[in-house]
């Protein structure tokens, strides 16, 4: 079936649909990972976005029940050069197309994805409409233009959980990094971590659990008081979609929480911490989405190859350098990739140490969080005595 992708700049691509039927608008972005389409599709940070894979052959290994970052695909739409309904992998349980259809995601194949990528690179992320129902190109372009801009959108509230829940799962596949449970224990008790779910990727939960943490995942709107009532050893701020500056309630809660407990933020969590500390965020031209971004750890001088997915970034000039310290930068464009507080047990990164998809180079950050909680406990014990 024919499907059209119309962009706000007037360009229309016509291809073949391999997902559900219908029509949807979204911000068109590209991801340069060669592998990991299933993780990308289920990453809630892609809410509201039509994702283009730059690697042309997609579907090769089907989908399985393990490589999920949330219960279902979260993207608005999916764009590839050549889709493979035939798949080959021992873990696969279904073809990608069937799974997308079942989850009502429109997907287009057979278009010049490199041309689209170059267009996004030059013009910036573009709003677009994917449609199997409307063949009128001019009308589709109009719809694209009328669709909401990403700036100012709070999408976290759309993807967060509705009620708190406990998480105790680790990656049990043969590919899992070795569990680090021993490191997060003290006197036989595991660290309790409250996880703010702004659209959390499950591998973050699996990694934290694997480091021995006991997780309570709470909705994005959970108040600071409610979180503290859980008496956690640490607070984790998850990744998520949309404009960080639009998630005002989260920023307010974080302002209250900063300094109370060790905190670790990833992606949107990192941006929200910056905002809560009085900084500013801005929209990148076309964002960072891929699994090959070099990030320099300014403490060690080492390069980490990182998994990234963000359209906004922290403006370092807006941050108070006497309070916070820049810890990580992106070597491609020198943007902020991580910072930590100079006094408080608080640090965060823009990229994804939980990988999935992507390299495991930055897994040490989870250990760092655990260490931070350990340090904190000793000091609080001292206070009590």
């Amino acid at each position: 079936m024919i499907v059209k992708l119309a962009l706000e700049n007037g360009t229309v691509f016509t291809g073949e649909n391999f997902g559900a039927e219908g029509e949807i608008a979204g911000e068109v972005v590209f991801n340069t990972s060669i592998t990991g389409y299933q993780e990308i599709l289920t990453d809630p940070s892609y809410a509201g976005q039509i994702v283009t894979m730059t690697y042309p052959l997609i579907g090769n290994y089907g989908v399985n029940l393990e490589d999920l970052e949330s219960v279902k695909p979260q993207v608005s739409g999916f764009v590839v050069r050549e889709y493979f309904d035939f798949y080959s992998n021992w873990r696969a349980t279904s073809s990608l197309g069937d799974w997308l259809k079942k989850n009502n995601i429109i997907a287009i194949q057979g278009i010049d994805t490199r041309m689209l990528t170059k267009m996004i690179r030059t013009l910036g992320a573009l709003r677009g409409v994917l449609s199997t129902t409307d063949g009128d190109e001019a009308r589709l372009v109009k719809k694209a233009k009328a669709s909401p801009e990403m700036t100012g959108l709070d999408l976290a509230k759309k993807v967060t959980c509705s009620v708190p829940y406990k998480w105790d799962e680790i990656d049990r596949t043969i590919f899992a990094l070795a569990p680090q449970a021993a490191s997060a224990q003290r006197n036989g008790r595991r660290f309790k971590v409250a996880v703010y779910d702004y659209g959390v990727k499950q591998n973050i939960l699996r990694r934290l659990t694997s480091y021995g943490c006991e997780l309570t995942v709470v909705p994005a709107s959970y108040s600071a008081e409610q979180v503290l009532a859980l008496n956690p050893d640490g607070i984790f701020l998850s990744n998520g979609p949309g404009d960080p500056d639009a998630v005002k309630y989260a920023i307010l809660n974080l302002k209250k929480l900063i300094g109370t407990k060790p905190m670790f933020g990833i992606c949107l969590g990192h941006q929200l911490l910056a905002l809560a500390l009085g900084g500013k965020t801005y929209k990148l031209k076309f964002g960072h989405r891929g699994a090959n971004h070099p990030v320099k750890n300014l403490h060690t001088g080492e390069i980490e190859i990182t998994s990234q997915n963000h359209g906004f970034a922290v403006d370092w000039k807006s941050m108070d350098g006497s309070k916070v310290e820049l810890t990580h930068i992106n070597l491609n464009d020198n943007t902020v990739e991580g910072f930590q507080h100079r006094e408080l047990p608080l640090f965060c990164v823009q990229y994804h140490p939980e990988a999935s998809p992507g390299p495991h180079d930055s897994d040490y950050l989870f250990a760092k969080f655990v260490k931070m909680m350990e340090g904190q406990k000793i000091s609080s014990t001292l206070v009590v005595q």
Binding site: N60, P294, N332, P357
Partner: protein, 1101 residues
């Protein structure tokens, strides 16, 4: 960390001659290393015995040594040049092994030289399989089960625990020489014995078979700060069990989830850390069990490799260049990415296309060799192609291979047309196809297509081949598309009562159909075949519908950043990225995949042509499809198109670029073959006209031209049938040289001494027909042969050099050793050769390079053939004389004059040193192959010996060729009836004079005794024990002189030749070579061999 300043001078070790398993990829890496290190301000000293390489250009290093790559010679160079460091990671296994030997013998320590790029400890951990296995297990990584043994008895103990099939890998051998897969105890015995003999340390690994598992490779780089990046993942189309060099390989990996890929990536990083490679690139090979994802490590190479060349070309990330920088202390984040300029090299390239590499084999040159593919590499070259789909890349790679195919079948060369098979023959074919697929063979990819056509399913084929179903699905898609394409005109045919017109047949072809066909990689030639028309009609039809290729960019980053490097490939999509500049431009066509007869020499010429034209201010555009080469390095030319060298693909680029002209005479036969058609489509051919090329190649016309100029040539004739052939041969007189009309590297050529053998040859070897006549030449027995390379500008002719062959006529010039300047010819005859060369250059209106082959018998000079193009010997002549012939030729082709280039004073006869070129053969890879030289070329590479004396140059060339001559000891002589003559006696007496003892088998022994030469008679193989083979194996023979005896004693010849090769005993098969060798030995004994750089040689001349 910035670059090191404590080292000033670096010695780079090259990889020596092109052999199976070690080809021009190391010229590519070495050339990059030379360039980078000089740019960084280091003094670069280079050793490589291979004169055909670009890296041995005197311009690329401060001191270039064309010397044998042995610890002894390297030490001489160290003594003389006093380098601070040695970079051994650019020259393949040869360089690594040499470095290890230098370190172990204490030579490095003695001279205070440091190994950079890889430390001794790391090399040993990676190369010594036992240590490797230990290191891997200690790092928590899995390897196949097994162990190391030094005897068959020990091997038996291991096989008991594992069972069959089982893998046997000898330690420290090239391309896995001597290894194999044993399916039963008998095979096991023979492979183990063979492996123990082949391994320099007599060690073999007996290992659990992971045959049929999926095979992967990761290219990894690591710096001193422990930053590790993966450059590229490669998935093998052929499963485990086929050597990677013999596998179709695909980048990136296609059937791994991210979880699996990251698991592998982590393992690769662990391997790098455990081995301790911290200043360069390596590759790590993995096997994965498709049933449960279990992953094991197969091996790693702590150096750049064939796959690094491939990964560099596939991603645009210059691995060798970066590895060289890491070796001198830079870290990845300090090096900018050449392609994006703004981003650093410390990232992992990502690609938005698929790359397919297909090996090229030359089994037809080695009759009787088992062409089943296994753990020992047998291919001689490879072609690679880009596509936005796997199907497109696969079909493009297949038409790049120069095997006459236009894609995956449907080109008129198929074994059958499945649409026309009777049920009975269909069943027969089905059986045959299944049998074929059960064993990995060179052309099996075509049989996959047949299998689908005959109704086999993906499951059936997977069961037979273990090829991943995803790849098979893609093949099936191509087959289905072909059926659809064929049905379009077949339907049209069926609905017409009379033979339909072309128009009505093609009327049904729409833009959509054409576009899809092109996206699936179908060439115009395939479409023409399917639609029963010609290629031109398809081209016109395509243009009419606006179905034109676009050119995409290879940019390391999938378009995320702006690319500055114009490195392109074609595909069929919407946006074209290749921008035509306003500069005057020239397209140079490369040589395509390496094969016997067409190797690195032509890449040397192409690259030199490019260098010269860049200096002249032209925009140079290269088209080539060989990933190993320097010509496909994106910074060699201004613009690179990685594309097949077919009329269709080249024309597409010409039409887009509109060059001033195109150069077809540097890349060997490949570009020459398509020159006429390109010209017919309006492309201007630079240099000698296609008319001149035709005149030289058309025997009738060329014969007439020679007669007109009163130039002698051997009598010849053309036969269109077997009967004809006999008549022609009888008229010319035996012996005759017979060959099919189209030849490359003397394929299927033979010398026939009588009617019977001629008939036999005609029946067996040739498919003679009016379209494919057979050429018959008078064979000038015992004639001397000469080669001349020259450049003509239309007026003046510059003679680059006259080379004298060491072997007499009848041995292919590519296989013959030769010497410059000639040593056994009078000045008068040299003058005559030069005179004739000049006359021919003018008669053929040569503009550019010209190669003439001469024979001299009874003081008469005959012309054998003329090639108005770059020849195999151009680099050798250039290295020998210091005259950059190919560069001069390129300038001439764009209109310059020899006079203005200031080269007309050059006279090769004034060169004071003597250079000897020797051919290198792949016999050690092919047990049971005939080891004698003939009119059919079988060498894969060449080496050069250079010194002030003939003997020393010969001696050096023999050492480099792996055939080092003994200074004393025992010689085994066995000559055929023809050779039982005065010449033989003279030669043997020379050896006796030098104190050599002679042993011989009955016939030769009696002959020598009768003529008063003392010798000891030994048994032939069947006569009893100990026989000659035992003597060789026992180290009692130091040199074998064995001239071919013909069919009757073939068994003995195999056994003797093989024993000599296995035990590294010098082996000589012609009397002329024996005569040369004795001279060399004489001079060898006068004093120690010394080293001198090319720069010194050339300055002295």
């Amino acid at each position: 960390m910035p670059k090191r300043t404590d080292i000033k001078s670096i010695l780079i070790i090259g990889s020596g001659p092109i052999v199976i398993g070690q080809a021009c990829e190391f010229d590519y890496s070495g050339t990059q290393a030379c360039k980078v290190l000089r740019e960084e301000g280091y003094r670069v000293v280079l050793i490589n015995s291979n004169p055909a390489t670009i890296m041995t250009d005197p311009d690329l290093a401060d001191a270039t040594y064309i010397e044998p790559i042995t610890p002894e010679f390297v030490e001489l160079i160290i003594e003389k040049e006093k380098p601070d460091a040695i970079l051994p990671t650019m020259g393949g296994q040869t360089a690594l092994n040499t470095a290890v030997a230098l370190a172990e013998r204490g030579i490095l320590e003695k001279h205070g030289v440091e190994l950079i790029g890889a430390k001794l400890d790391s090399i040993k951990k990676a190369e010594d399989r036992q240590l490797f296995q230990k290191t891997m297990r200690a790092a928590g990584l899995e390897m196949p089960r097994g162990g190391f043994v030094y005897s068959y008895e020990e091997a038996l103990k291991i096989v008991d625990g594992i069972g069959f099939p089982i893998i046997i890998r000898p330690s420290y051998t090239l391309g896995g020489t001597g290894g194999g897969i044993a399916y039963n105890i008998e095979e096991f015995h023979s492979i183990v014995e063979h492996g123990i003999t082949n391994s320099p340390i007599h060690e073999v690994l007996i290992e659990e078979s992971v045959i049929g598992w999926k095979e992967y490779e990761l290219e990894v780089m690591r710096d001193t700060k422990d930053n590790v990046v993966i450059i590229c993942s490669i998935e093998n189309f052929d499963p485990m069990g086929v050597h990677t060099g013999d596998s179709i390989t695909v980048a990136p990996a296609q059937t791994l989830t991210d979880k699996e890929y990251q698991y592998m990536r982590d393992a690769a990083i662990t391997v790098m850390r455990a081995i301790g490679v911290d200043t360069g690139g390596s590759n790590v090979q993995f096997a994965i069990n498709p049933a449960d994802g279990k992953m094991v490590i197969i091996e790693m190479n702590p150096r750049v490799s064939r796959s690094s060349a491939l990964a560099s070309k596939a991603t645009g990330f210059p691995i060798a260049k970066i590895a060289a920088k890491l070796a001198v202390g830079y870290t990845l984040d300090e090096i900018p990415n050449d392609i994006t300029k703004l981003t650093p090299a410390s990232f992992e390239p990502t690609i938005d296309y698929t790359v397919v590499k297909i090996p090229r084999w030359d089994f037809e040159k080695f009759k009787g060799v088992d062409d089943t593919l296994g753990v020992q590499m047998k291919s001689v070259g490879e072609a690679m192609a880009f596509g936005r789909t796997f199907k497109e890349a696969l079909q493009k790679a297949l038409r790049s291979l120069e095997i006459g195919r236009a894609g995956l079948g449907a080109d008129g060369k198929d074994l059958f047309n499945h649409r026309k098979l009777s049920p009975k023959s269909k069943a027969e074919w089905k059986k045959r196809v299944k049998d074929q697929l059960r064993r990995p063979k060179p052309n099996n990819v075509f049989f996959l297509r047949y299998a689908f056509q005959l109704g086999l399913t993906i499951e059936d084929i997977h069961a037979l081949t273990k090829i991943d179903p995803w790849f098979l699905f893609n093949i099936r898609q191509i087959v289905e598309a072909e059926n659809e394409l064929a049905s379009i005109v077949e339907d049209a045919d069926n609905t017409q009562s009379r033979t339909p017109s072309l128009e009505s047949r093609l009327a049904k072809v729409t833009l959509e159909i054409l576009f899809k066909a092109k996206q699936y990689g179908f060439s115009d030639r395939q479409l023409a075949y399917l639609w029963k028309t010609d290629e031109d009609t398809i081209r016109t039809l395509r243009k009419k519908h606006g179905v034109l290729p676009v050119f995409k960019t290879v940019d390391t980053c999938a378009a995320e950043f702006e690319a500055h490097t114009p490195y392109h490939y074609s595909t069929y999509e919407r946006e074209n990225e290749s921008v035509r500049s306003k500069r005057k431009k020239v397209i140079i066509l490369g040589g395509g995949p390496n094969r016997i007869g067409q190797g690195i020499e032509f890449d040397y010429c192409c690259v030199h042509g490019v260098y010269a034209l860049r200096e002249e201010g032209y925009e140079t555009i290269m088209i080539n499809c060989n990933p190993e080469t320097v010509s496909t390095d994106y910074d060699t030319t201004d613009k690179l198109y990685f594309e097949p060298l077919t009329v269709e693909d080249v024309l597409n680029i010409c039409e887009h670029e509109e060059p001033e002209g195109i150069i077809v005479s540097f890349g060997g036969q490949t570009p020459l073959k398509i020159a006429k058609e390109l010209e017919a489509h309006g492309v201007r051919i630079l240099g000698t006209s296609t008319e001149g090329i035709d005149l030289a190649e058309d025997r009738q016309r060329f014969g007439a031209l020679l007669r007109q100029h009163k130039i002698s040539h051997p009598k010849y004739g053309t036969a269109f049938s077997v009967k004809d052939a006999v008549l022609v041969a009888e008229e010319i007189g035996f012996p005759v040289l017979v060959r099919p009309s189209y030849v490359l590297g003397g394929r299927a050529m033979e010398i026939c001494y009588n009617t019977a053998s001629l008939r036999e040859y005609m029946k067996k070897a040739v498919d003679v027909s009016p379209e494919h006549p057979v050429l018959i030449d008078c064979f000038l027995e015992d004639a001397f042969e000469f080669d001349v390379d020259a450049v003509c500008d239309g007026k003046d002719v510059l003679i680059g050099g006259v080379m004298e062959h060491i072997e007499e006529a009848g041995i292919h010039s590519g296989d013959s050793a030769c010497v410059i300047p000639p040593f056994m010819i009078s000045d008068e005859k040299t003058e005559e050769i030069i005179r004739i060369t000049k006359k021919l250059a003018h008669a053929l209106n040569v503009i550019g390079l010209l190669n003439v082959q001469f024979a001299m018998k009874d003081n008469v000079v005959y012309v054998l053939e003329v090639n108005p193009r770059a020849s195999r010997t151009v680099p050798f002549v250039s290295k020998a004389t210091g005259l950059a012939l190919a560069k001069i030729a390129a300038r001439i082709m764009v209109g310059q004059k020899l006079k203005d280039l200031g080269v007309m004073d050059f006279d090769f006869r004034k060169v004071k040193h003597i250079s000897v070129k020797e051919a290198v053969f792949p016999f050690s890879k092919f047990p049971k192959v005939k080891m004698f030289l003939g009119p059919e070329m079988r060498s894969t590479g060449e080496v050069m010996g250079i010194s002030s004396t003939f003997g020393a140059s010969v001696a050096k060339s023999q050492i480099s060729a792996g055939n080092a001559l003994p200074e004393h000891g025992t010689i085994f002589v066995s000559v055929n009836e023809n050779d039982k003559n005065e010449k033989t006696l003279e030669i043997v007496r020379e050896y006796v004079k030098l104190g050599f003892k002679i042993v011989a088998t009955e016939g030769t022994s009696k002959f020598l005794t009768a003529k008063g030469i003392v010798n000891k008679q030994v048994f032939k193989v069947q006569e009893g024990r100990p026989n000659i083979v035992d003597h060789i194996k026992n180290g009692e023979v130091d040199l074998v002189i064995n001239t071919p005896l013909g069919e009757e004693s073939r068994l003995d010849e195999y056994a003797i030749g093989w024993a000599a090769i296995e035990h590294k005993v010098a082996f000589i098969t012609t009397l002329s070579a024996a005569a040369t060798a004795v001279k060399a030995i004489g001079e060898l004994r006068l004093g120690k061999l010394s080293v001198k750089s090319l720069q010194e040689f050339h300055q002295a001349s």
